[in-house]
Amino acid sequence: MAKPVAVALLALAALGFAIALAASIGEMTIPLEIIVKTVGNRLFGTTFPLNRIQEGVVWDYRLSRALVAACCGGALAVSGVILQALLRNPLAEPYVLGISAGASTGAVLVMIAGIGGGALSLSGGAFLGAVAAIALVGLLAMGSGGGSDRVLLAGVAGSQLFNAMTSYIVTTSANAEQARGVLFWLLGNLGGVRWPDVGLAAPVALGGFVVAMLHARALDAFAFGADAAASLGVPVRRVRLVLFALTAAMTAAMVGIVGSIGFVGLVIPHAARFLVGQGHARLLPAALMIGAVFLVLADILSRILVAQQVLPVGVVTALFGAPAFAVILYRARRPL
C-alpha cells in the first residue's frame, strides 16, 4: 500500500511545483519564495512582509489561473479516458467528438443571443449544448451503422455543425467588441480567470473524477464491447448514461470558463496508459494528474512562447496535440 501513496504524493508535489512555476513566470517574474510566502499569508495566517503589487499579482491573477488550468487539464483528460473506453476508440475525446463545439454553441447562445433570459447561466447553456452534441453525434453514429469509426465521422459532422452555428450567432448577433472577445475565448483562453472560476472548476473536476473512479471496473469491462460488459453484469445503459452526462458536465464547465481546449483529452490518456497500463483504477488518477500538470505547463508556454504576447492556450495544446493525434492514428493501424 506504501507505493500508491508515494506515487500520489509525488504527483501532488509535481502539480504543486508546476502551479508555483506558473505563478512565478510572466511579464513580471516573481521569485518562488514570494509565491510560497503569499500562499502562507493568505491561507495559513503567516505575516511575511510582501510587496503589495507582487502579492496581488500572484494571488489574484496567477494562482487562480494556474488552478483553473490544472482542473481543466485534469477534467479533460479524465473525459478522454472515459470516452476512449466507452466508445472503444483511441482517438475519442471531447474536442474531436464535437462535445466542446456543442458546449461553445450553448455558451454563445446564452452569452450573445440571450437565450434563457438570464435564468440560464453560461455553464448551464454550455452543458445543454454539450448534451445536444453527444445526442446528435450518438444518433448519427448509430444511424450510420454504429462502430467505433463511425463515431469519429459523426464527431466531425457534429463539430462542423456546431462551429458553424457558433459563427453564425457571433456574426449576426454580436457587436465587434463581443465578437473579438468570443473568438479569443473560443480558442481556449485562461486570461480572464479569477477565483470564482476556481469555485466552479475545482468541484467539477474533483467530483467528476470521483464519479469516474466509482465506474473504473465498469470501464475495464468495456474492453471487448458493450455486450461483453453486459455479460459481466455491468448495467451498460446506466453506466453509459451517467458517464456521458459526466463528460458533458465536465467539458461544459471547462468550456464555459476557458473556451474549448483541444487534444488534452486525446493525448494525456495515452501518456497515462504508457505509464500505468490499461486498468482504469490507476489510469483515471494518472490521467487526472498528468492532465493537470500538462495544462499548467502549456499555459506557462503560452505566456512565454511569443514575447510581449499571450497565445490562447488552446493553440499551444493543438501544436502538441495534432502531431500526437497523427502518431496515435498511425499506431492504431490495423494489422493485416
Partner: protein, 258 residues
C-alpha cells in the same frame, strides 16, 4: 457446480425491425451436458443465445434459470451464474491474457472491493483449465485465433458459472483448433449451450442438438434423433447421406454434390 439449475426458454419470441428472429422457441439445457444449437445462417442461433444471456429482452415468453425468470435476477447475480463467449470479440487495448481473464471476476467484486485470494485462485484455475497458464503475460494482439478463443473461455470460467453459452466458438479456426476448443468445452464441469455451424462437429461433441429454422425450433433431441437426411434437406437445403462412423460410433454427415 449446481447440477439442478438450468437455463430454459419458454415460448420465447424476439425480433428486430419488424422481422421475427426467434419465433416461439421452448428449449431447456440439461444440467452438465452440452446442447448444440444448429441451423443455417439467420436461423436465430445467435439471437437465441443473446436472449439466454440476457443481452436482449424477449418480446414475449420467458427465459428461466432454475425457477427464476432471468429478468428478475440482479444483473451481477446472473453474471455469476451464466457466462457468455461471444463470436470473435476483440479489443485494441494492450491487455495481457491475465488482464482479460481477470475481467471475469467483475460480477464477483463490488465497485470498491479489493482483489482477493479467491479472485486470484479463480483466475489461476481458469487459465489452467484452458491451458494458457504459461502464456498469462502474453499480449492479446500477439495471440493466435485459437489462443484468443481459449482466453475468452478462461474469462468466462473465471466468472465461475454453472452455465456457459458459446456463440460459434470455432468460427475462423483451423480444424486442429476447432477440435481442441470443443474437446475443452466437453471437459468443463458446466452446462453448455453452443451455437455451431459444422454438423459433424456437432454430432461428435454435443449431447443434444436443437435445430433452428427461420427462428422456429425444428427439432430437438440426441444427434441420432435429430440428424436425419430428410431434416438436413428441409432445413439446410442440401442433399446428404448420414452414416454411423465405425471409428467413433457417432453420426457422420456426407454431403452429396448436386
Amino acid at each position: 457446480m449446481t447440477a439442478d439449475v438450468t437455463l430454459a426458454t419458454h415460448e420465447v419470441r424476439w425480433g428486430v425491425g419488424g422481422v421475427l428472429m426467434v419465433d416461439g422457441v421452448t428449449l431447456a439445457a440439461e444440467p452438465g451436458r452440452i446442447l448444440g444449437l444448429i441451423g443455417p445462417n439467420g436461423s436465430g442461433k445467435s439471437s437465441l443465445l443473446r436472449l439466454m444471456a440476457r443481452l436482449r429482452k424477449v418480446s414475449s415468453g420467458v427465459v428461466t434459470l432454475g425457477d427464476a425468470n432471468i429478468d428478475a435476477l440482479p444483473r451481477r447475480a446472473f453474471a455469476r451464474r451464466v457466462a457468455l463467449v461471444e463470436q470473435q470479440a476483440t479489443t485494441e487495448a494492450a491487455l495481457t491474457v491475465q488482464d482479460v481473464v481477470r475481467l471475469g471476476r467483475t460480477p464477483h467484486r463490488g465497485p470498491l472491493s479489493a482483489w482477493t485470494g479467491a479472485d486470484a485462485a479463480a483466475v489461476d484455475t481458469a487459465l489452467e483449465q484452458v491451458g494458457l497458464a504459461d502464456r498469462r503475460e502474453r499480449l492479446w494482439h500477439s495471440l493466435s485465433g485459437g489462443e484468443r478463443q481459449r482466453a475468452h473461455i478462461a474469462r468466462a470460467l473465471a466468472q465461475c458459472p454453472s452455465e456457459l453459452l458459446l456463440d460459434e466458438p470455432t468460427n475462423h479456426l483451423d480444424i486442429r483448433h476447432q477440435l481442441e476448443i470443443l474437446a475443452l468445452i466437453r471437459r468443463l464441469p458446466v452446462t453448455s449451450v453452443v451455437a455451431l455451424h459444422d454438423l459433424n462437429l456437432a454430432a461428435l461433441f454435443c449431447d443434444r442438438l436443437a435445430v433452428l429454422h427461420q427462428g422456429k425450433l425444428a427439432r430437438v433431441g440426441t444427434p441420432d434423433e435429430v440428424l436425419t437426411e430428410e431434416l438436413i434437406e428441409t432445413v439446410f437445403g442440401v442433399q446428404a447421406s448420414v452414416e454411423r462412423s465405425p471409428r467413433h460410433g457417432r453420426l457422420q454427415v456426407h454431403y452429396l454434390m448436386g
